[in-house]
């Protein structure tokens, strides 16, 4: 089954983190991603720019509305994602648990709706 691991974290805390902490975090993500590749489970994954760079679009009565900012204006924002192909939820959860982001924020694990 494929799952998306959505990494939610506090952007303000990330922005004010020391250079050393950020370096450590990036290194941890590098190792983590490598481990996923080696296990043969990684389908996709990327880091996202902060939500200040987000734009939301919706179509209301045929008219397009474009707004700056993220959809949900919450403290914890989606900061990145991985898509993994693993046998079951337990395997997905164990990858989520090892994600460096789990120590600071939350990882939401959602099955991909395969067509």
């Amino acid at each position: 089954m494929q799952y998306m691991l959505m990494i939610y974290g506090n952007e303000a805390a990330m922005a004010s983190a020391s250079e050393a902490d950020v370096g450590q975090m990036m290194a941890a993500y590098g190792v983590y991603t490598q481990a996923m590749v080696q296990a043969g489970v990684l389908k996709a994954g990327d880091r996202l720019r902060p939500s200040s760079a987000a734009t939301t679009v919706r179509s209301v009565g045929g008219k397009t509305q474009v707004l700056d900012g993220p959809y949900a204006d919450t403290k914890e924002q989606l900061g990145g994602f991985y898509i993994v192909d693993v046998p079951d939820l337990d395997a997905a959860l164990s990858w989520a648990e090892r994600c460096p982001g789990a120590a600071h924020g939350v990882i939401e694990v959602r099955p991909i709706w395969t067509m």
Binding site: L89, A91, L93, P111
Partner: protein
């Protein structure tokens, strides 16, 4: 009820969980397995009256249910359904020849108690999928509206499938936590069966036995888990006293007045052995402590003198572990035996602010008993009234009414 219906119901009771577990383990789809099995039962009720009951009804049901499952998979096939469908066909012949369905109920129990399942629905889910209870029965045991319970069960089953909760037993690292959830649910099943003390409702009585049986499966597969041993011991102590809890006329008999000769010595002996085995591990837990209290009561009745200090100590440890107000009530009652009724009543007074106790019968019955011993007749009268109003079991209600009627006006100490 005719013979065929009776046989079908007997098979349903004995085999339901086995058949669901066998199918769901292969497809990951509990609801689909339930649908297939209920269709199989319907087919059986139509075919058996003319064809006769098959020699191996369980295997017969599995064969039919499996076909229903395969038909359903063909109707809306996805990649995963097709794979499990092939596996089912491959296993069909073997199972039909063998006639015995492997017991995978423990795996199903672990699925129901998976951390991705809402804790509040784990026990109901287990009762439905492993024991085949309907939503209405479960709802009444858990004091919920049947429709709401039905909805929660449907959602949980859909979640098992869509979230991809694996049908296998947890690894070593997760075992203690996952097992705790399974044991809680087994105990909930036992309690639901226990609420029919007269044994009038065969289905309810079977539920207590079925829960003991489920726990035996757990103990057989995990023989060194002290809490599993503790829970089995706890349920066996209770089961041993089943016959002694009521007179022939159906009246309630409290523990201290039960006829020890009516206790079944075999389960008591087994419980004692289990509890010793559990304590060898030196990892105390809720169920072991509760079983130890039962053990102390049994020993006390046999010796003619109950060690209330030890019981009080056990309750104190249990309270430290659980913080349960129900444990606190029991502790207060034990305290009344060591320090006198005034001490016990003071301990109960300390709980009076807990809103959960306002409609909890044993709290009011315990108050009434201690107040009566202290000669506080008016207070006892009132507390018995509250207790009687809260009790659903007519036998217990009669018992409380007798106690209330036996209250004697205090001698006027001022004169």
């Amino acid at each position: 009820m005719d013979d065929v219906t009776a046989t079908a119901e007997a098979v349903a009771r004995a085999s339901y969980g086995r058949l669901i577990a066998f199918m769901a383990t292969r497809t990951g789809d509990v609801a689909g397995a339930e649908d297939a099995l209920s269709e199989a039962f319907a087919t059986a009720l139509a075919a058996w009256p003319s064809d006769g009951v098959p020699a191996k009804p369980e295997a017969w049901l599995l064969t039919v249910a499996r076909r229903k499952l395969i038909d359903a998979a063909r109707r809306h096939r996805t990649g995963q359904d097709a794979a499990s469908h092939l596996r089912l066909i491959a296993e069909e012949r073997a199972a039909a020849e063998q006639g015995d369905v492997p017991d995978e109920r423990l795996t199903l129990m672990f699925v129901c108690a998976h951390p991705a399942i809402d804790p509040g629905v784990r026990a109901p889910l287990m009762l439905q999928t492993v024991l085949g209870l309907d939503a209405a029965t479960i709802a009444s045991a858990f004091l919920t509206a049947p429709a709401a319970m039905g909805q929660r069960l449907v959602r949980a089953k859909s979640r098992i499938k869509l979230a991809g909760i694996p049908f296998r037993q947890p690894g070593h690292a997760d075992l203690p936590e996952r097992l705790g959830a399974v044991l809680e649910a087994i105990y909930a099943a036992f309690s639901a069966g226990w609420m029919d003390p007269a044994g009038a409702d065969l289905r309810a009585r079977d539920l207590a036995r079925e829960a003991i049986w489920l726990c035996r499966v757990v103990v057989a597969l995990l023989p060194h888990e002290p809490e599993a041993l503790g829970l089995l011991a706890l349920m066996l102590y209770a089961e041993a006293r089943r016959a002694a809890r009521r007179t022939a006329a159906g009246d309630y008999v409290p523990l201290d007045q039960q006829d020890v000769a009516a206790w079944n010595p075999l389960p008591i002996r087994e419980a004692e052995t289990l509890l010793r085995r559990a304590s060898d591990r030196a990892m105390p837990g809720r169920f072991q402590l509760e079983a130890a209290v039962q053990s102390a009561h049994v020993a006390g009745r046999a010796a003619g003198r109950t060690d209330w200090r030890a019981i009080s100590q056990l309750y104190a440890t249990l309270f430290a572990l659980t913080g349960s107000p129900v444990v606190a009530i029991n502790q207060a009652v034990a305290l009344a035996e060591t320090d006198g009724p005034a001490g016990g009543l003071a301990a109960l007074d300390a709980l009076a602010d807990d809103p959960r106790l306002a409609d909890y019968q044993p709290y009011w019955a315990a108050r009434a008993g201690l107040q009566a011993r202290l000669g506080l007749v008016t207070e006892a009268e009132h507390a018995y009234q509250r207790a009687i109003g809260l009790e659903a079991d007519p036998a217990v209600r009669r018992f409380l009414q007798q106690r209330q009627a036996a209250l004697t006006p205090p001698r006027d100490s001022a004169r």
